[in-house]
Subunit: 595 residues, 2 copies
């Protein structure tokens, strides 16, 4: 193991080893140029006869994709939601109306517009309509509680919030909390069902002051002059990190980055012209991994799903002939463990992007059996979602299944939008050898890395130290150049001086026939420092006790890596399907030392 | 017909109607901002917490594609030429050596390096190696004569020229002309066959001073530090227009535009990961329609062909399982008229991009029969090659063949890299109605429009008047939003006040069973102003006289559109397959008035 693991975590507080950095932390924000280089590249020295003018220079923006699709694909279906269907021309016109209506509500360039909604057509439209009004879209996670929503509304200074009728109560509570604290209250717009219907609880909103989405649109002007970004680095969205830690940060995307990551993701996933895309990834998550914009680029049909359930997934695939979809392994897990009565045969191969956690072999195997073709990608909110892909090599098709799944569980190589993704020593920033053993931190550099954390220069500065975005994920590099994430830096368990990848332990746990879900964290230990502690949820109708689980792990892993403790319970997850290990760590801590 | 055709050509000399423009013509170059808007967009006003730094901002450049493929696809075949094969890692290393060797020859940032070579591996490598040395690549048309080559070398101020061993004599003559005129002589590098062999004539070069490509590479340093562009608007290449007019202009591309057009062309052509691309488009033409870079982005295999001949095409397709290729209709014509002994069955569907001229229905039909799938794209050297595509709609598949071919011969809609392509009135710049009748000029706006004409501010200014690149192509817009080019503005024939699209007349001529090639120009006429004059080449073994051809046209066209004169002869073409109408116009002029 690499030297820096001998002194665990000191490198995370890098300021302690870099006096220069510590100084700038206490200075104002301009200090960042000392750490990550010049902010402005050399300006363009034109040769004679050359110019930069509106004929040959346009700020990159995904708004262009919609404008183009409204022309190229104008009568093709853009969005489907139950019985609701729009064409690209209609979607474009609705977005123009929306942008116009927002300016009527007082929205100016640089203002923030929040959303709290599942994957309904309005969410799709807001991703264009808000930027077309010159504003930033801030998509709140639909599983947050009212307290957190009020915190994020305050932090983002959102001037308007669009709320799905089913989530109105929680939004209303959040606004109540803001009132109590004498904070500014955003204007509330209720997204009704497309037929105009609302849930009963949401009607209370109309006793108070609120707009209704469809009414608002009808007042918008279809001839609205779009407020294109004046500079392509202007911000397009804020994504608050989903909270695997307890401190959410507002990750800001630019028009340029959104344009480039949309195209890179389309290419990475092999999305040709006119795909049929099923929305099983939350649109609020990294703006739907940038595919809200990417599908507009390719004139795709967006199948919206309010609730991601196996029956709805299989029904949608059969009905609409879905070609592409995405989802965290937890969504794949739901699909492969669905009851046969919920299933339908796939009309043809469905390409599935998975990411957020490495897909366990069992899930890959069962997905293949069902007719899905799974690609594994990797990225963070800070990299606009997808940043790397385990680019599949045709020669791997002839390998035995276990070997194929092992290869596919790796995070792979950077996509086309990034300049470089590498595994580097977090202290020296030197590239680690490609020996499959030496751990380092995954680092990103390129145009699809966030502009920074909203109103948090200190966090931005720390994330970009040395001119690299430092992901906090620990990985090894293999001899074929593909890297493999072993753990989050804060998740790794260190027992008797040895690093234990919780991902490796979890992979073994998932291969146990009775295990539905598993997560491993460190339990404090007076002797070893930490020991691995497994939280496990069993499949319905299956049984297993701690002893059996531990024995199974010891049969498949070096003994020091096997859990010493197994707890059976439901696992706490973020709405994007990530297990909230900080909650489990708290529980393990509360247990105290094992010996 | 639109009003501006009533006063033919006055609008081409637009300065005569825009006093403001005329003034700036006589002033210095800064005057251009008055015509096409501000040169610099607003600089970025960062919000608190956001930065632009090397972690999240990298100038866009196709060099990135090669660096990435050297990692992602490193052991896959990059380039094939006869028995020569390289992997992506090898190609990358060869390009590093080449860039290093260029700096050893004294090449600095912004210098120009010329090439005179067919589609051999060195041409592929030069497209990366030259920019990696910070220089511009200027790819000369291999069919130019020594006089024109000397003019272009002088104009471009090329410091080095790479010459294929078969073209050495003509290059040597060109350098001789430069010596006579006491101009600076570029350093000569001879590209031998990859086995080191040279044609006999080329050995004379070694009596004089010259380098050999492979020797030069062997002296380059594989650890060369790449000179990335400091600003993404820095120039990457100069493409001299191929001379459908007699005045070639140096069209300059930027790293940004090359990056964006590469991706747009990859997406437009549906080029997935790891394609097998057959080089039937000259690499010197718009840098191979940007697919030299685009294939690197997708880790494709580049099959190089020194000579584009039907047998070599069919052999390569069968041997390498070609997936994609491109070519002007003249290449398609060569394929469909090939002898059966030259043909081989296609192992699977081959996607063919055609452009440069609308593909005649007969050719589309025969290409389909042979198993090719043809897409029609359109663009100009000034738009980095491909700029629009006749985006195929699945519902058109069920139409009768004639209808399908008629739809496909249209130039279509803009690709993803452009902001807008429209048909506009050349005087008022107003969009023409989509009635399929009103003619206007095709105009482009977006990031894949050239930086300008090298050392020709006046021509740049004129091309970008009003913030649009004005193509000089006349077209109509159809009700489905697709546009159709009717003629080059200078090619249109005006007879008795009526506009005659020479393309329409040529389409009828091509449908005559005896006609192999046809071109129509205006012949001066004392009564009508002009009358259509057809130049025709007959198929081998076929016979037809002028009377029969004229009758055939009158049977298929309004009488005023039918040619009054038919000349049987070989048609003069540029090396990219375009018919040189200016030569034919001279001939027609020399004939004098018909009546």
């Amino acid at each position: 193991m690499n030297h820096f693991f001998k002194i665990p975590f000191t490198w995370i507080i890098t300021t302690s080893v870099l006096p220069q950095v510590r100084t700038t932390f206490n200075q104002n924000f301009r200090g960042i140029s000392q750490i990550c280089g010049n902010l402005e590249p050399r300006s363009w020295n034109s040769m004679e006869g050359l110019v930069r003018c509106p004929a040959n220079y346009v700020p990159l923006s995904p708004i262009t994709f919609l404008e183009r699709s409204a022309k190229v694909y104008r009568d093709r279906t853009s969005v489907v939601y139950g019985t609701v269907k729009y064409t690209w021309r209609e979607t474009y016109e609705r977005c123009l109306r929306l942008a116009s209506a927002l300016t009527q509500l007082g929205i100016s360039r640089g203002d923030v517009v929040a959303t709290l909604a599942p994957n309904v057509p309005a969410m799709y439209e807001l991703h264009f309509g808000v930027p077309m009004a010159g504003a930033l879209i801030c998509t709140l996670n639909t599983r947050l509680d009212s307290a957190m929503i009020s915190v994020l509304l305050k932090h983002s200074e959102a001037k308007v919030i669009f709320v799905d009728h089913e989530l109105l109560e929680i939004a209303w509570e959040a606004l109540g909390l803001l009132t109590k604290r004498k904070s500014k209250i955003p204007i509330l717009v209720v997204i009704s069902e497309s037929d105009g219907s609302l849930t009963s609880s949401s009607t209370t909103a109309f006793d108070k002051e609120a707009y209704v989405y469809e009414n608002l649109l009808s007042k918008g002007d279809v001839k609205f002059e779009v407020r294109k970004p004046e500079n392509e680095l202007d911000s397009i969205s804020i994504n608050y990190t989903s909270g695997t830690t307890s401190e959410p940060k507002g990750v800001v995307y630019s028009h340029r980055g959104a344009y480039l990551n949309s195209l890179a993701t389309v290419l990475l996933h092999g999305i040709g012209a006119m795909p049929v895309y099923l929305w099983t990834v939350p649109m609020f998550h990294c703006n739907g991994w940038c595919l809200i914009w990417g599908n507009a680029a390719q004139g795709g049909t967006n199948i919206c799903l309010r609730r991601v359930r196996p029956k709805a997934i299989f029904d949608s695939i059969a009905l609409h002939k879905v070609t592409h979809m995405g989802g965290a392994p937890t969504v794949l897990n739901m699909i492969v463990n669905s009851s046969t009565s919920d299933r339908k045969p796939l009309p043809s191969k469905v390409e599935v992007m998975t990411g957020g956690a490495p897909p366990p072999p069992q899930i890959l195997h069962k997905m293949e059996e069902l007719g899905f073709s799974v690609s594994h990608l990797y990225g963070l909110t800070e990299t606009y979602g997808p940043g790397t892909i385990c680019q599949w090599r045709p020669e791997w098709n002839s390998l035995p299944p276990e070997e194929r799944y092992r290869l596919k569980s790796r995070q792979g190589v950077q996509h086309l939008g990034l300049e470089e993704v590498d595994v580097r020593d977090p202290v020296t920033l030197e590239s680690v050898p490609d020996d499959g053993k030496t751990m380092g931190e995954v680092m990103f550099r390129g145009n699809t890395v966030m502009s920074g954390y909203h109103k948090n220069p200190r966090a931005t500065e720390e994330a970009f130290r040395g001119g690299w975005f430092q992901s906090g994920d620990l990985a090894v590099k293999h001899s074929d150049g593909y890297f493999e994430v072993k753990d989050r830096s804060k998740d790794i368990v260190i027992s008797g001086g040895e690093n234990i990848s919780t991902i490796e332990v979890e992979t073994v746990l998932y291969s146990h026939p009775a295990v539905l879900e598993a997560a491993v964290v460190g339990r404090p230990d007076n002797h070893w420092g930490q020991t691995p502690c497994a939280f496990v949820k069993l499949k319905e109708g299956f049984q297993a006790d701690a002893e059996e689980i531990i024995k199974f792990c010891r049969d498949h892993l070096p003994h020091y890596m096997a859990p010493r403790t197994v707890v059976f319970e439901d696992l706490p997850r973020t709405s994007t399907g990530k297990i909230q290990k900080f909650i489990l760590r708290e529980k393990a801590k509360a247990m105290g030392s094992l010996f």
